[in-house]
């Protein structure tokens, strides 16, 4: 009887050890497989930390893109963020949150159309103006779109702005601009980086504004030149788009402007590329 009991115990312990060994082996296999996957994903593929395919929290991948894969990189810049709330509306709604929602929709829509999209922020952070510009400046063929919501203005209208430089402040800045004018000069004055692109940005803003005027009645038909700080250091065609207004519109209505906004931006890019590939540097 005792021998039988010992035999049963030994068999049970053996079975348990066998199961443990198998489990450990499976775990080791999983670890090796996981490491390989992580190593492959971490391999650099010329992408900024903000590039969407790696960072998108949303699990829904865009459907197979149509044949526009070789377009410029579109840099979407949701304005403000963090402690800088931007414009504020009733009930504590803030521009920084609405432009983030708008950015997600615009990004998705443009990705569906086959455009490569990166963003300057995708959470409640507040990168500096220069950091935002640097995202666009890292690419050779970028288009920078800064998204804003106004405190004022006729509700339901949208405006596109291009940077209209004020007079440079110092003589050194003037010298910097002269250097820029020479095609061989490798130096660019960071504060004046947008200056060589003003005409292209103006054209892009006009096309976008024309589209917006159709989608948002009451909007101007031509874009506006203004000293927009967010555009000044961008070394690429750059436009700011501002929807009115946070004080009179519901957040959902404002965020809903993102759909027509995506179409307007896409139309602007097409027009820009048609006019002798002006988007390329």
């Amino acid at each position: 009887m005792a021998a039988w009991l010992v035999d049963r115990a030994v068999r049970a312990i053996s079975a348990m050890l066998f199961a443990v060994r198998n489990s450990l082996f499976s775990l080791a296999c999983l670890l090796v497989f996981g490491s390989v996957v992580l190593l492959l994903r971490a391999r650099p593929t010329h992408s900024s930390p903000q590039e969407e395919p790696q960072s998108t929290p949303e699990p829904t991948p865009p459907p197979a893109p149509p044949a526009v894969p070789s377009g410029p990189v579109i840099v979407l810049d949701p304005a403000h963020g963090g402690t800088d709330t931007g414009a504020r509306g009733e009930g504590g709604i803030a521009e920084k949150d609405i432009v983030l929602r708008m950015m997600r929709t615009v990004r998705e829509q443009l990705a569906i159309q086959g455009y490569r999209v990166v963003t300057t922020r995708r959470d409640d952070s507040n990168p500096s103006y220069d950091d935002r510009a640097a995202v666009a400046n890292a690419y050779h063929d970028a288009i920078f779109i800064s998204l804003h919501v106004a405190s004022t203005g006729t509700s339901g209208t949208v405006r596109a702005y291009y940077d209209q430089f004020s007079t440079p402040e110092s003589a050194s800045a003037v010298l910097g601009i002269k250097a820029l004018a020479q095609p061989t000069s490798p130096l660019v004055v960071w504060d004046q980086a947008q200056r060589p692109y003003i005409d292209v940005s103006h054209h892009l803003a006009d096309v976008i504004q024309g589209q917006l005027a159709r989608s948002f009645p009451g909007s101007p038909t031509l874009s506006t030149g203004a000293a927009v700080r967010a555009l000044r250091s961008v070394m690429a065609p750059a436009v700011a788009v501002e929807t009115s207004s946070i004080s009179k519109s519901k957040p959902d209505a404002l965020a809903g402007a993102a759909g027509p906004l995506s179409s307007a931006i896409a139309a602007g890019i097409v027009a820009l590329r048609q006019s002798n590939g002006a988007g390329a540097r």
Partner: protein, 207 residues
């Protein structure tokens, strides 16, 4: 369900309904409070900032650019006693722009804004130094900030000959933006009529 729990739930439901009912009047009261504070601020500002007058003042029809609708600024012709000295003239115009909009809806600069100093260099470069309330009291947005800057620059260029460009300082300092969007690090070009040789003084002192 125990009887005590039912009573608690009923009491809570009543409290929520009462809260919802009282919310709207509360919001109206807060809104009224804000309006009265704005009126008080305007009255205080009018007392603290007496009109600037100089011996050379002549009453003229000045064009002051205030808001015209929600999206633009447009000139409004007002009778204003303006100095022949360009610095004093600019100060008088900017004070009128801040203090005397025909209606509150036409206001482009916050009521509590004050012009701390105004300088003019011989090359036509003007520097206007505003109190920091111009930034803190202005609604953030490219449109509202652009309208504020436009109202200042267009008022000056329409009424002060010889001004070539304008730099805006806040509290004596250069700042990156007005209220988060419009760039204040450079100069704003003014396309005013050329000054007569005696109009622009050499680097006038702040008043």
């Amino acid at each position: 369900m125990p009887r005590g729990l039912k009573i608690v739930l009923v009491v809570l439901a009543v409290a929520v309904v009462a809260g919802l009912i009282s919310l709207q009047p509360l919001r109206r009261r807060i809104h009224r409070l804000g309006e009265s504070r704005s009126a008080d601020e305007q009255a205080r500002h009018a007392v603290l900032a007496p009109p600037i007058s100089t011996p050379t003042d002549v009453t003229v029809k000045a064009q002051i650019f205030w808001a015209a609708g929600a999206d633009n600024v447009a000139p409004v012709e007002v009778d204003l006693a303006l100095s022949a000295d360009p610095v004093e003239r600019s100060r008088q115009l900017l004070q009128a722009l801040i203090s005397n909009p025909p209606t509150e809806e036409q206001r482009t600069l916050p009521v509590e804004t004050t012009l701390s100093a105004f300088y003019l260099a011989s090359d036509g470069t003007a520097i206007a130094d505003f109190s920091d309330t111009i930034a803190s009291g202005l609604p953030s947005g490219i449109l509202s900030e652009e309208m504020a800057v436009n109202s200042i620059t267009r008022t000056l260029e329409s009424n002060v000959p010889g001004l070539r460009r304008l730099k805006i300082l806040i509290h004596g300092q250069e700042v990156d933006t007005l209220a988060g969007n419009v760039d204040l690090t450079g100069f704003f070009d003014l396309n005013s009529v050329p000054a007569s040789p005696t109009a622009a003084a050499n680097m006038s002192s702040p008043r």
